[in-house]
Structures are given as C-alpha cells and as structure tokens.
C-alpha cells in the first residue's frame, strides 16, 4: 500500500495510520465517542444532529455514486486497451515472422469485409478529440501500454476510494442509528417520569 503523502506530515506522528482524509482528499467520518456530548448535553437537539448526519451521509453517497460511475468507465476501458494491445502484438508477431494474414473486419455493426494484411510497419492510433496519429508498431505498443498502466492505476485508486467511502458511510450510518436510539430512549425516560 502507498504511504501517505507528505502533505499530511503535520498530523500527529503517534497516529500515522488514521489520517483525516484519504489520498484523494475524501474526509474521514467522525466516530461518536459519546452520543450525548455530540448532541450537546442531556437536553440537546437530536433532530438537528440527525439532520446534519443525514447531510453528511448524502454527500458520501453522492461521492460513492460518482466513483462507481468512474469505476464502470475504467472497467470498460481497461479490457478495450488490452484487446488493442493484443492486436498490436499480433501485428508485431506476424511482421517478425514475415507472414501476411487474411482478416474479416468490421465495416459497420452488421457488415464485414475481407482483406489481406501484409507486413505492417505503422498503425493509426485514435487519440480522441477527432485526432488520429500514425505510429510505428513499437511506439504504438509503448504508447498503449502506458495508457493501460495509467488506466489500471486510476482503477485501483477508484477502488481504494470506494472502499474508503464504504467505511465512512458505515460509520455515519451507525452514528445515525445511535443518535436515533439515544433520542428514543430519552423520550421514553421522560414519558416514564411524567
């Protein structure tokens, strides 16, 4: 696991394992040591505390749904890059063996044509933004591998974020339940006193 960045160097050295935010700056949810003091004493406003906790929860859920979307995008992108790299590898292998091969390639979703691929030196890589550039096979391979590595890193970051968010959501959910229970108990005690 990556060590925490130097920006958190001001944190207490005695507790380096519990930073206040994860590497992407998602804040840590506070654990309520004591419900009563969180609410503000025995006559504190539970309603207000519940509302603020619900707000925190909604923010975490929003971040979670964003991260889930990002993860989904990356989970499509990674295999796509892997397939492209496999194709470049095939072209390289064929070139080294001085072989040509026939292909049935896609013209449109339901239309295929056949063609012969002779020794290929260059391929065109779609870079996005309506741009395509030609690269020698080996450079294309390097470029695509770099992109794949970057996508894999982002994917693993998103997964870390999601797991971090999972923790914060659980803490907040437990907080909500505890404040709620505390309030129910207080009401019951007051009723009994009357």
């Amino acid at each position: 696991m990556a060590s925490t960045s130097t920006s958190t160097a001001t944190a207490e050295p005695s507790r380096p394992s519990s930073p206040l935010a994860n590497p992407r700056g998602i804040p840590k949810a506070i654990f309520l040591e004591n419900v009563e003091s969180f609410i503000g004493g025995p006559d504190g406003d539970a309603e207000e505390s519940l509302q603020s906790l619900q707000q925190v929860l909604a923010k975490y859920r929003y971040m979670e749904s964003n991260s889930l979307q990002r993860r989904q995008g990356l989970e499509e992108k990674v295999p796509e890059l892997e397939r492209t790299i496999a194709m470049v590898e095939t072209l390289q292998r064929k070139k080294t063996a001085n072989e040509s091969f026939d292909t049935t390639f896609e013209l449109s979703d339901t239309l295929y044509a056949t063609g012969e691929v002779e020794e290929v030196d260059e391929v065109y890589v779609w870079l996005g933004a309506n741009t395509m550039l030609s690269y020698p096979l080996s450079s294309a391979y390097t470029l695509l591998s770099t992109k794949l590595a970057a996508a894999q890193t982002s994917l693993s970051n998103v997964k870390q974020d999601l797991s971090w968010l999972r923790d914060q959501i659980t803490v907040t959910e437990v907080n909500v339940a505890r404040v709620y229970n505390w309030d129910v108990k207080r009401r019951r005690e007051r009723r009994e006193q009357e």
Partner: protein, 132 residues
C-alpha cells in the same frame, strides 16, 4: 444489506471505536465478497467457453485456417497458432479463477469471525444477514 440497530431500548449497547472498526471491516468484506462472486461467475463462464473451444481445436489440422476473433475483427490464422493463443488465455483465466476463489474464501472466513464477535456483543440489535 444495512446495519441498523434495533430501536429497542432494552438492547441499548454502548458502541466503542473497536466495535465500529469491526462493523466497518465486516461491511467492506461483505461488499467485496459480492464483487468477487460476480467476477468469478463471469470468469468461469469465459473459462468454460475457452475450454470447450480448446478441446475442439486440438482435433484440427494445425495448418487449417480458422477465424480468430480479436476485438471487432476476425483474423484468419492457422489452427496451431490459435491453439497457442487459446492456451495462453486459458492459463490466464485459470490463475484469475484461483486468485478470486482464494479471496472469496478469505472474505467468508473473515465475515464468519466478525459475525461471531459482533453478535456476541450486540445480539439481536444488529443485523448482519444478506437480503433486503
């Protein structure tokens, strides 16, 4: 699954930071275990397909050309070459299956341990079972 404590005041147990950590660990294992199960299912399906094709391919003449699908195109390659490619992907799929199965077992094991700890402390005021 949601971990909601019952609002029954009789079961009002003090939640400590240690408990919270256990609940977090359980929650993470639980969601990871769901993910792993889904991944395993899809990889096992792929593995079955490739295994089936590989068996068929072994019976073919090495020189005979087959259409090998790569991304959106079909490449006409000699059967021998395709067999090598298939075996490589078989190996990859098998090792993925192994890793995932190991992870799934670890998740299950961890969850069983945590369940024991958490149920012992919270009894009926915590729900750690699947299903809505």
């Amino acid at each position: 699954m949601r971990m909601l404590e019952n609002d029954d005041a009789d079961a009002d147990t003090l939640v400590t930071l240690e408990d919270q950590r256990n609940i977090n660990a359980f929650s993470k294992l639980n969601s990871r275990s769901d993910e792993v199960t889904a991944e395993l299912e899809s990889i096992k399906k792929q593995l079955e397909d490739v295994e089936e094709v590989e068996t068929e391919m072994e019976l073919m003449d090495e020189e005979e050309e087959v259409m090998y699908k790569l991304d959106s195109s079909f490449l006409r390659l000699p059967a021998g070459e395709v067999l090598t490619l298939l075996q490589a992907s078989l190996e990859k799929l098998r090792s993925q299956t192994e890793t995932l199965e190991k992870e799934r077992d670890e998740c299950e094991e961890g969850m069983t341990k945590l369940k024991a700890v958490l149920y012992a402390k919270f009894g009926t005021s915590i729900n750690l079972e699947k299903g809505d």
